[in-house]
């Protein structure tokens, strides 16, 4: 077990490095000049130290470190490492390739920070958002709460609903309920979630039809009235959460109950269940104790994917319902071409997914002692 863990963590490092490189590449492949975008933003990052517009430009270029080389190594001509895009052709030295090394470069600063403003992504600093001038890490930490809430709440809810459905339909495979529930779940699985969300909004928060739930946001637009207790706050928030929760839940509901049905029926066919039945154990113990434990494995899989999807947020759903979570942040930063935010989310989701793979692999062994990793590493 320990050697397996060690092996996984060692393999974790090159993958992480690749992820960092990929994120950095994407950040620099992004079209347009970040300085231009900062100057054209809605609230221009005007700095008092610099006066005119051109000075502002050079100030921000220097401040963001865009005037230094990109990476540790760069391929250039023998003559001058900085004149890669210089148009003059004259000296023979311009046609001789040379590998330059830069100790101070953008990648290094991005990782470890410069000594001025940023601390580097290794210490949790993803730079400054182009559009709002806010720190990206502050933005993310202020937005992640709702995404996390919806992701975890919906998975829990889906588990609590789909487990009884799965158990019942395995025990009574010919009943009307199990057949119809199967068909309905298959249908639900195929419906695009943004369509369902729009249709639900069209029916239940449309003044022409039924105006039961508010159409957007997660709390009253003007904020809560002053001096109310938290119970009243929750009561005022709940109507905003009903339709989003349904939409978040139903896709994982279909997935989970499909898997439950397969796993439970597989488990019930196995010898140890036969033994338990032969011993005369009540059906409740057979199913509840032995089969139930085996349903944990798909749940671990789904839970491990819930965390990364919380960071990424459900972009479509959060945009439709205007939930101030990560998904809406991503959408807004795409609109504003705010690449530092995008790349930060990209990097974080990758990191958390990889950690999730690792943790879920370990949890499989906890849930099912038959799974062992020592054999795997030996082979």
């Amino acid at each position: 077990m320990r050697s397996y863990l060690l092996k996984r963590i060692i393999f974790f490092i090159p993958t992480l490095l690749l992820l960092v490189l990929l994120s950095f590449m994407l950040l620099h492949l992004a079209p347009g000049d970040p300085v231009d975008r900062m100057m054209m933003g809605p609230d221009t990052q005007y700095h008092q130290d610099a006066g005119e517009m051109t000075d502002q430009r050079s100030y921000w270029t220097h401040r963001l470190g865009l005037d230094i080389p990109l990476f540790y190594l760069s391929i250039g001509s023998l003559e001058n490492p900085k004149s890669v895009f210089d148009n003059k052709v004259g000296s023979w030295k311009k046609f001789v390739p040379f590998l330059h090394f830069h100790s101070d470069n953008q990648f290094h600063r991005w990782l470890f920070g410069d000594n001025l403003s940023s601390k580097g992504i290794l210490r949790g600093d993803f730079g400054i958002s182009y559009s709002s001038g806010q720190k990206v890490s502050d933005l993310i930490s202020s937005r992640i709460g709702w995404s996390l809430f919806f992701a975890l709440f919906s998975v829990t809810l889906a588990y609590l609903i789909s487990l009884p459905i799965g158990l019942y339909s395995v025990q009574h495979p010919e009943s009307l309920f199990s057949k119809t529930s199967y068909t309905i779940l298959i249908l639900l699985f195929s419906l695009p979630v943004f369509w369902t969300a729009t249709v639900l909004l069209m029916i239940f928060s449309n003044p022409d039809m039924f105006y039961i739930f508010p159409a957007s946001g997660v709390q009253p637009a003007g904020g809560f009235p002053a001096g109310i207790s938290w119970i009243q706050k929750i009561r005022m928030t709940v109507p905003y959460l009903v339709i989003p929760t349904i939409c978040y839940t139903y896709s994982s509901l279909a997935f989970l109950s499909r898997i439950f049905r397969v796993t439970i029926s597989d488990v019930l066919k196995q010898d140890f269940i036969k033994t338990a039945r032969a011993k005369g154990l009540p059906e409740k113990t057979d199913v509840g104790k032995h089969a139930f434990r085996n349903t944990l494995i798909p749940v671990i899989t789904v839970f491990s994917s819930a965390f990364p999807s919380a960071v990424g947020g459900s972009i479509l759903l959060e945009t439709i319902f205007s939930i101030p979570g990560m998904g809406l942040t991503i959408y807004q930063s795409i609109d504003a071409k705010d690449y530092p935010v995008l790349i930060a989310v990209f990097f974080l989701t990758g990191l958390i997914t990889m950690a999730g793979f690792l943790i879920s692999d370990l949890l499989y062994a906890v849930a099912d002692p038959r799974i062992s990793f020592s054999k795997k590493t030996a082979s």
Binding site: A30, N87, F98, P192, M202, D208, S309, Y339, T353
Partner: protein
Amino acid sequence: MKTIKTVWTALKNIFRLKDQPLWLRRIFQLYIFVALFAPVIANREPLFMLQDGSWSFPAFQKSAYVIIRDNGSEFSMLRQAVNWQAVKSDVQIFAPIPYDASSSDLLNYNYASPLGKQWAIADISTSELKPISWRSRHWLGTTKTGADVLAGLIYSTRLSLFIGFFTILIASFIGICIGSLAGFFGDRTIRVSRTSLLISLLLVVPAGFYIFIIPEKIIGPTESENVPAYFTFLKIILFVFILLLPFNLRLKKISKDSTQKSWYIPVDTLLSRFIELFLSVPRLILIITLAAISRPSVMSLIIILGFTSWTGIARMVRAEFIRLKSTGFIEAATSLGLSNSRKIFSHLLPNAFIPVRVGIIFGIAGAILAEAGLSFLGIGLSPGTVSWGSMMAAGREQFSAWWLVVFPGLAISVLLIILNRIADQKNQFSQEKLL
């Protein structure tokens, strides 16, 4: 010939509909038919026109100007400006739906309901209105600009299936290549001499310099923007080719003792890490990030979707290759002395198609869903493009126009249900032997 036959049989089996119920087959064929013949089913221009004894096919002409005859005189008109219904002719045959996806009907703009009244001009001189005839009625209503929803649905079916098909073509090509490389060669098959590797590494600097930097320097930054995009692709191919050269050269004469020392290239581990990296980034975020930084167009969307959805297929092919390699018939092939390529192409690949089939169909469904989601958000396709997602997004602006949300949603849901069902039928199918 055997190889081609077996691969072809496997390819045909990807979309095998024989086991499916009749209604499913018919609906699936309807989608394919609509996608293939969209310009004939819905078109603003007449398919056939007879004027003064001369006939023409305006819908199939591509010129920007068309020649119109009126009372013996001929004049050319901008194609977009012609009102074909008003052109005097002996015979005019229109498509079943006489509208384009984006042409606007100025009399029925601002969300004409499919159930409500729709108008047409009764007399051009007095511009009097009459209820529209059933022939040119908007059966599924119109959008805000007066574009016909049914025509939009037909063209977006074409677009979606096009994107789904070509995405999976790219994805399965990459996935099958990477998966079969990783699965077939494993970690301890390919050996390279250290000298070749060293020379290849040393070549990176001059090759990169002369291929990527010097041309840009010579022609200058302004002209280099006008260089076609596929030049970059050709440059990358040339670069890779040069780096692979040292492995093919006979280097024994250059250094005698160091060629004795060679390293294994852990192909499987490297490619599996690569797949894991791709898997660790949520697909939708990767797609959205890439779509946000690239120029919106159908081609770039296909490339983005294709390059992000090959991982499932690659993993399936790899697992299947590893499983098949230990079975008897590959051992037999090895002992008969068959070449690697023959083992891969005529024995392993056709057998690995069965699990890949599921991946391919889910891949098409995923690509179609991703495209709809992206165009719902307004990312990926250029703003004017009509697709299921963009129609639903338009319907979100006006909830009373339910037809803008319901019909595209139904179209995509039915397609996804069918694709999921086709992919699900693997059980009785996997029992059969393809060879």
